[in-house]
């Protein structure tokens, strides 16, 4: 390319292979690389504290889960109100496999080696994917809201069954061993924070790449086709029922990986981490981030997780001026979150991802306005 690659404003791709690439211009590729480098440098920032690490780490873990929800809801168009339960399946799979199989059979003591964790993440993902496919099965017959109810039912059954299974400590905390990384046991928040930041970041990048690849393949196109017009999809040789089941399985896989990650991060699994409220938080993250876009799954969790402590402080402030008999604080978080979701649904149904798109376009065309 003879022209200056940095200010390239359109795409001049000369063959179909180039046309498959993800990022259109060189400057886009360059800014992505810079962004990733910056993300890897975050732990060295002077402002990083334990609680900030926790916030970042949870954002990364939730991002993996929300990517999965986005495949189900954003791409295949099936609302899932039970996504946290799939995450729970992954977490409990990781916890029980480790406790009942790995520790007695492989003789791990205080910690499990890193390779084992790397192996267990996809295994937990596959178990959650099976659960996802199973819950998605009614999509051969049911549509839209009916299917949403099936996912809600799964959420409720999950919470109830865990609560009544002594093997799962009836929802109380199950201990998960710490991770041993090249001879060093990662324990204590000052080590766990940065370790899971990097681990989570790498998992997010790998999962996002897989996500992106999937979407430009025939499988990704089939998801969108089923969402847009399942009659026409059927005529294209796409089995709509099977495609929805696949979406639920993929969504389950992402949730399961996130759940296993959370289990190792917290060092314990407790049923409250996978409640209906978390499922709804995930939906909020997906909607506010932007359904049907990868960028949306990345922005949504950041936005909501960082909004949370801020709303808390706001509640404190409001409570200060209100008489103490009125419990503003209790109502504040759900109502602020609710209002934000509604505002987004009305004014920006494409979510924050659309703002991101507009911003990108603006810089691409700069210095020209149009």
């Amino acid at each position: 390319m003879a022209v200056n690659r940095w200010i390239q404003s359109g795409n001049y791709r000369r063959n179909y292979k180039e046309d498959q690439t993800i990022f259109a211009t060189f400057s886009e590729q360059a800014s992505l690389v810079v962004l990733i480098i910056l993300l890897f440098l975050v732990p060295y920032a002077p402002f990083m504290s334990r609680s900030l690490f926790r916030l970042f780490d949870l954002v990364l873990i939730y991002t993996v889960a929300v990517m999965g929800l986005n495949i189900v809801t954003g791409f295949a168009g099936q609302i899932s109100i039970g996504h946290a339960a799939f995450m729970g399946v992954g977490a409990y799979a990781a916890a029980t496999i480790t406790r009942d199989l790995a520790v007695p059979l492989l003789g791990f003591a205080d910690a499990v080696p890193f390779w084992y964790v790397l192996l267990l993440l996809p295994v937990s993902g596959l178990i959650a994917a099976t659960a996802g496919a199973f819950v998605g099965l009614p999509s051969f017959r049911l549509k839209h809201l009916y299917l949403a109810i099936a996912t809600l039912a799964f959420q409720i059954i999950f919470t109830w069954s865990v609560g009544h299974t002594p093997w799962l400590k009836q929802g109380g905390s199950i201990r998960v061993p710490r991770v041993e990384f090249f001879g060093e046991i990662i324990r204590g928040s000052s080590a766990i924070g940065p370790f899971f930041y990097y681990f989570g970041l790498v998992v997010v990048i790998v999962m996002a790449l897989a996500f992106r690849n999937l979407l430009r393949s025939k499988f990704g196109r089939a998801l969108v086709a089923v969402r847009d017009n399942d009659r026409a999809a059927d005529a294209m040789g796409i089995n709509p029922g099977a495609t929805k089941v696949m979406a639920f399985a993929i969504g389950g896989f992402y949730a399961g990986v996130a759940g296993a990650l959370l289990a190792f991060y917290n060092g314990s699994v407790i049923v409250e981490s996978f409640s209906l409220a978390i499922s709804i938080d995930f939906l909020a993250m997906a909607i506010i981030g932007g359904l049907g876009t990868l960028v949306g799954s990345l922005i949504g969790p950041v936005f909501l997780q960082f909004l949370d402590p801020w709303v808390e402080q706001l509640a404190d402030l409001v409570q200060w001026v209100m008489p103490s008999t009125i419990d503003v604080g209790t109502a504040m978080r759900p109502s602020v979150f609710g209002i934000i979701i509604v505002l987004f649904l009305i004014f920006e149904p494409r979510g924050l991802a659309n703002w991101w798109r507009l911003l990108r376009q603006y810089f691409k065309r700069w210095p020209f306005k149009f």
Binding site: S49, G163, G172, S173, R175, G188, S189, I270, G329, T330
Partner: protein, 400 residues
């Protein structure tokens, strides 16, 4: 150049000053529900922690040190509890006070790794059961022990034929399920029959439940729950005329002023197991409770609430161990832990808030071991036993 040197030196001086000040400050962290589920109870605990720390500073209970109690809302959300815990670590916390059952259970591994002692408001026996229990403590006897004491009371006072029949109404959570297994084992030892364990939060049809139990011949109902479902059940029982054929009782979080306020007459005869004194008793500890509450302008509702006592006891334990640690040397999480573990025998701490001394040590992670049964008589809570321990609990649930 000179300017830079001066700047540098003043910075060093400030840093040293800051360090000096920091050494004089002892940071305790509390995280609990000020908003969200159970916040009606959590708010009283929070107020008590704040008040007692202020009181400790004003009275200079720890000579040469000030106590800084950081209290933050976690909305009964475990993630927030963990986040607060880690934030407090950044702020130099030496000991932590927890609240919810889930959050405290999940904190066990963190407490162990950070070597920070944790006292919770949750009396779940799993908090102090191994593994990872090294830094975990309960302020008073566990739900399990309370429920077992109630079962023993049933076995001792039952005069009918055959085995007494008991139903348990438990909260649908780890909190509610905590004592169920121990209760089943103890019931077997005591010759008491547990007919059914019903899990319920809000909104169950209590009439149907009670009629079913009545038909099954249930004579005693033990609650491991919070006050509102218990009050609803008591009202239903009164409406059905079952108050004569069934005796209702419950563990720590079922009782107190909240229950009598919610249930009114229907609470008459309710039997409650707890380790705290009642404000109305006017014991020395309760006089102090009123004094502290009034000093900081708390409402009558706050001052008479058991959850306020809970917070006072938790803060008082930490202030006392910090005082001992300070007297022996420096205050750190390590010295606090050591002071806690040696708080027994002659060193046991009589806080005045609980019905017995606070003691911790090897094999003893429960502060106030003793408890009493308290009954609603003519609308007032009246103790009907002296402080004692459950006799079956050590058999059913041996502690390490």
């Amino acid at each position: 150049m000179k300017l830079y040197i001066r700047l540098f030196f003043s910075l060093v001086v400030f840093a040293l000053l800051g360090l000096g000040l920091a050494q004089q400050e002892i940071v305790f962290g509390w995280s609990g529900a000020v908003t969200g589920p159970t916040s009606d109870a959590g708010r009283f605990v929070l107020q008590a922690i704040d008040d007692y720390c202020r009181y400790a500073n004003e009275e200079q209970l720890i000579p040469g040190y000030t106590v800084n109690c950081i209290t933050r809302d976690d909305q009964y959300n475990n993630d927030n509890t963990l986040r607060n815990f880690e934030a407090y670590l950044d702020e130099g916390m030496v000991a932590f006070i927890g609240y919810s059952t889930g959050g405290t259970l999940q904190l066990k591994v963190n407490a162990l790794e950070e070597e920070i002692p944790v006292i919770g408001s949750s009396l779940h026996i799993g908090v102090i059961d191994p593994p990872d229990n090294d830094f975990m403590f309960l302020p008073i006897s566990s739900y399990s022990e309370q429920v077992l004491a109630l079962l023993e009371w049933i076995a001792d006072n039952y005069q009918g034929e055959g085995a007494p029949k008991v139903a348990i109404i438990s909260h649908p959570s780890a909190f509610g399920r905590a004592p169920v297994e121990d209760a089943r084992n103890a019931a077997e030892l005591l010759g008491v029959e547990i007919v059914e364990v019903q899990e319920t939060g809000e909104g169950l049809d209590y009439t149907a439940m009670l009629q079913r139990w009545s038909a099954a011949g249930v004579q005693y109902v033990i609650g491991q729950n919070v006050q509102s479902p218990i009050a609803a059940m008591l009202n239903a029982a009164q409406a059905l005329g079952l108050k004569d054929s069934m005796t209702f009782m419950g563990a720590h979080y079922t009782g107190g002023e909240t229950l009598t306020n919610l249930a009114g007459d229907a609470a008459e005869g309710f039997l409650w197991a707890t380790s705290y004194y009642l404000e109305s008793e006017g014991t020395p500890g309760m006089v102090l409770q009123r004094e502290i509450g009034e000093r900081y302008g708390r409402s009558e509702e706050t001052i008479t609430d058991t959850n306020y006592t809970t917070g006072l006891l938790q803060a008082a334990i930490y202030v006392e161990v910090a005082r001992r640690a300070a007297a022996a040397g420096e205050v750190s999480s390590q010295s606090i832990y050591e002071a806690l573990m040696s708080m027994n025998g002659v060193n046991a701490f009589d806080s005045g808030f609980g019905v017995g001394p606070v003691s911790f040590g090897e094999g003893d992670r429960v502060g106030v071991d003793a408890m009493r049964l308290i009954q609603v008589q003519d609308g007032e809570w009246q103790p009907i036993t002296e402080p004692y321990n459950s006799r079956t609990f050590p058999q059913v649930h041996p502690l390490n």
